[in-house]
């Protein structure tokens, strides 16, 4: 069966059809949540919540638009909202430790790259983190990002340019 059929069945309340959609999109949604939130535990919760919200809002989904774009928009908004509601307790060190705990020795090198990029991303605002992630991990166009984040195309462009400059600056300071 294809994606459109699963969506159709899930709209009628079929939980197992929705399970196929979760299986298909769990990595993109979880990765986006991880990149924006910077914490794996919270990202798991946010990704789960994204799918629950999507299930509840399936009636509002327009089948003419890509499902992935619609789902990632829900995830991005939810994660940005979470950070805004979050108490200022999570430090960069906390993020780093939570990453280090679950990696075996052999994966340390890969982990270093991932942690480095994660630390860099955390200097950006939540919306800019979402924007950079959508651009680099999902190859989304400026138009798609604008639609997903509810911004104008020119705002996306100028924010991405500023974010690149800020990241370059931070990378130089880190080295």
């Amino acid at each position: 069966m294809d994606e459109a059929t699963w969506i159709q069945q899930a709209r009628g309340g079929d939980v197992s059809a929705f399970g196929h959609l979760v299986q298909l999109y769990q990595t993109p949604v979880y990765n986006l949540a991880c990149r924006i939130l910077g914490d794996r535990m919270e990202a798991e919760d946010a990704a789960q919540e994204t799918f629950l919200r999507a299930f509840r809002s399936l009636d509002r989904y327009d089948p003419d638009r890509p499902f992935r774009t619609w789902l990632l928009a829900i995830a991005a908004h939810h994660c940005v909202d979470r950070i805004r509601r979050r108490r200022p307790a999570l430090s960069l060190e906390a993020v780093s430790l939570s990453e280090e705990r679950d990696g075996p020795e052999a994966a340390l090198l890969r982990l270093e790259v991932r942690e480095r990029i994660q630390r860099l991303l955390l200097i950006l605002s939540p919306t800019d983190r979402a924007l950079v992630t959508l651009r680099y991990w999902y190859d989304s166009s400026y138009e798609e990002i604008a639609e997903m984040l509810g911004l104008s195309v020119s705002a996306v462009k100028s924010r991405l340019h500023r974010a690149r400059r800020a990241l370059a600056q931070a990378l130089e300071e880190a080295e």
């Binding site: 979760v22 798991e44 789960q48 950079v132 340019h161 690149r164």
Partner: protein, 181 residues
Amino acid sequence: MECERVWGWMMDALDGALSPDEEEALQDHLARCAGCRAEWGRLQAVEQLLREAPMVRPPIGFTGRVLSRLDRRQRIRRGVLGGIVLAVGTVCLLLLAAAPLLGTLSAPSEAFALVRTQGLLVLRLADVGSLLLRSLRLTAGALLPALLSLGLCALVTTLTACLAWFGLLRSLRPATVLVRR
């Protein structure tokens, strides 16, 4: 001034949207300007880091956890709806049980008694109406204890069912938290 223009070219180059002429002008400028050359080097390093970063995969069993959370949430929603229906039922039964106490029949009876003084025809009609209502009041009075006990029994049963229902919901809630962690 020129460096600002070159900055725009750098961004277009990173987006793969630079024309060959602009590319040439950018390279010319970079060959002459050390500041922009350093900036371009940093931007490319970030670009490489971002492009090489892998997708983070969710822990095993993610789909199962989403579906079990969805299932619990649907059960809770159904539970709350059921609770609302039970509560509305309780209120209805309460009203039913209290109806004979409200004295709804006494007011029209008095109105008829007032009309009795207005004329012969009206007097007869009022007499009949008054009699009818008095008999109804007597019947209602006789049935009152039975209706009250019936209503109270139904109320107790409904409240017990409500408490059992919400007890069940509370027992579901800790399980939801466990799944979330």
